[in-house]
């Protein structure tokens, strides 16, 4: 079996809105188990698990937990990042709408391990259904005594509230997210300090992705060592893949790290439509690289992702078949970043507009060799000089296609010259 269901195990077998169903399959027992462990034991379990963040960047969870534990200032906060604005990603929505209590349990474990008393779930404004489901689950958890003060007579207090985004992709970036919860425009901060030192309201704050937090109960349940045996030595455990585009069976699939993209597309996604061929895929979302069909035997793991210098780790695979013009796709990607740039720094604010305009010339077959050189240069500058991850990764798709599909650029320039002649 290609799929390995650890965090999605109960999905489909429980009513997401029934806390009894969740408790019936062992829910909240891992939080109770954590309450009986010392904070050091919990930390050791996460260190042994080698769990890395699932929001894109793949930062080791244990390091953040340790940084939080060292902070003595109170209050401390736990934030679940459910902004999921990266095009092609929908796994966090899937988790929230199908097993909300597991996310709450993960946040409880995180809060207990870090000594945090208050939590926020920052959900993108587009996810009305996720918000309604999570809200009901939070109320049920409060009723059942899992949230509030002196939880289960443990003298541990923790409560949780939902905050809505308002249609801004950059608010998924952790500092922009903090600003947004504070009631400000979502413009990033200069770092360091990092959120674990100076986060929400300048207090110590742990920020993790939905999928990362949903994994917390699993690690407490099976122990860090056992978890680390799944996947590859450096990318342990399982990953949710959001599979979309031109495949027969789009959806969310949980696979161990180390399986190839081809297997995911062919065996889980059922391949592309009859008579079609895969032309390329975009990995991770709009911020990710576009890579050719012949590279599909590449496996899913953080080390491969890192080669692309982008936060590909969120796990989207967008399959693009041979009907589509690559330049139209790149223009769309560029349009997205032009629209979502927060405008704080010049390379990102101006550069994305320029890149989109150049790409339009490739789409319209009016591009010149000069355009190619300009695009290459701009992409590099924006990648290197932008302040936050949005600008740094906005040119990834372009940079990757300049590398893997260089002939297509040259051919299009030649076509353009013929159109003129």
């Amino acid at each position: 079996m290609l799929e390995h269901k650890l965090i999605t195990k109960h999905i489909g077998n429980i009513d997401p809105l029934s806390i009894d169903d969740y408790v019936g399959v062992g829910g909240y027992a891992m939080f109770k188990k954590a309450l009986g462990m010392t904070r050091l034991d919990i930390h050791d379990a996460f260190e042994a698990s080698k769990l890395r963040g699932r929001g894109g960047a793949g930062f080791p969870v244990a390091i953040k937990l340790m940084a939080m534990a060292k902070e003595t200032r109170k209050p401390k906060y736990v934030i679940c990042n459910a902004d999921e604005g990266e095009p092609g990603n929908f796994k966090d929505r899937y988790l929230m709408e199908n097993n909300p209590h597991q996310i709450i349990e993960g946040m409880l474990i995180a809060a207990y391990a870090t000594g945090s008393s208050h939590g926020y779930l920052y959900i993108r404004g587009e996810y009305a259904q996720s918000m309604a489901t999570m809200q009901q689950a939070i109320e049920a958890a409060r009723q059942a005594g899992y949230l509030g003060s002196n939880i289960l007579n443990s003298r541990f207090d923790f409560d949780l509230e939902i905050r809505s985004g308002a249609g801004s992709y950059v608010c998924g970036e952790e500092f922009a997210l903090l600003e947004s919860i504070e009631g400000k425009a979502g413009r990033t901060r200069v770092k360091p300090p990092f959120p674990t030192a100076k986060g929400l309201f300048n207090q110590p704050t742990l920020i993790n992705n939905v999928e990362t937090l949903a994994t917390f109960p699993v690690i407490i349940a099976m122990g860090g060592e056992a978890y680390a045996k799944i996947g590859t030595p450096t990318s342990t455990g399982t990953k949710l893949i959001s599979l979309s585009g031109n495949v027969r069976k789009k959806g969310v699939y949980e696979v161990p790290f180390g399986v190839s993209m081809r297997k995911i597309i062919e065996e889980l996604g059922g391949g592309v439509g009859a008579g079609r061929k895969i032309q390329m895929i975009q990995l991770g979302g709009a911020c990710g690289p576009i890579i050719p069909e012949y590279m599909l035997d590449m496996v899913i793991d953080f080390e491969r992702f890192e080669e692309f210098e982008s936060k590909t780790g969120a796990g989207a695979i967008i399959v693009i078949d041979d009907r589509h013009d690559m330049f139209a796709i790149l223009e769309q990607v560029s349009e997205f970043f032009t629209h979502e740039s927060c405008g704080k720094c010049t390379p990102c604010r101006e550069g994305n507009v320029h890149m989109r305009n150049v790409l339009r010339r490739f789409v319209n077959k009016t591009a010149t060799e000069q355009d190619l050189l300009m695009l290459e240069n701009q992409a590099r500058v924006i990648h290197q000089t932008s302040l936050c991850g949005l600008g740094q990764t906005a040119p990834t798709a372009i940079i990757s296609t300049l590398h893997y599909f260089r002939f297509d650029y040259l051919n299009r320039i030649e076509d353009s010259m013929q159109e003129v002649a």
Binding site: R93, A128, G167, A185, K250, A328
Partner: protein, 154 residues
């Protein structure tokens, strides 16, 4: 809903600014915020009015011009774009007789772009206020519009 009712539903703290703006805007049939309302919100929270204006202009969910009772948002990002066998945008523009960004004369519909709606497995999709419609076809779009029209005129 009255603005004062919304303000009273939240603690008087800056951190609730977005929640207040979202909640109040959603309660208005015109889905927009007016200058004097923003000033009132700023006063209530003890913030400079300029702060509230800058927040409203930053987030794409907010509008300072009146919009329709139903806001239709279609996605234009790659997963939806390559799943289209027809153009959702053109279909909507033709059926409604407006361009993206405009509101129909009867004030029922506003047509907008949205960044990815996070439902790429159901593409192509359309969000109407808080409801998501998926696996769109031309006929389905016609039916959605007709259903809203008949409901909203009743």
């Amino acid at each position: 809903m009255e603005l004062t009712a919304v303000l009273q539903a939240y603690p008087k703290e800056q951190t609730y600014l977005l929640e207040i703006l979202l909640k109040y805007q959603a309660s208005k049939p015109t889905h927009h915020l007016e200058e004097d309302e923003l000033t009132a919100i700023a006063d209530h929270l003890g913030l400079p009015a300029s702060h509230v204006f800058s927040v409203v202009s930053f987030y794409s969910f907010f509008s300072m011009t009146p919009r329709g009772r139903y806001i239709l948002q279609f996605c234009r990002d790659v997963p939806c774009h390559i799943s289209d066998t027809f153009s959702v945008r053109e279909t909507l523009e033709t059926l409604l007789g407006i361009k993206t960004g405009e509101t129909t004369e009867d004030g029922v519909f506003t047509l907008e772009y949205s960044s990815c709606l996070g439902a790429c497995d159901l593409a192509p999709v359309l969000r109407v206020n808080d409801t998501l419609y998926h696996h769109l076809t031309v006929d389905k779009i016609k039916a959605i519009l007709a259903e809203i029209r008949s409901g909203s005129d009743a």
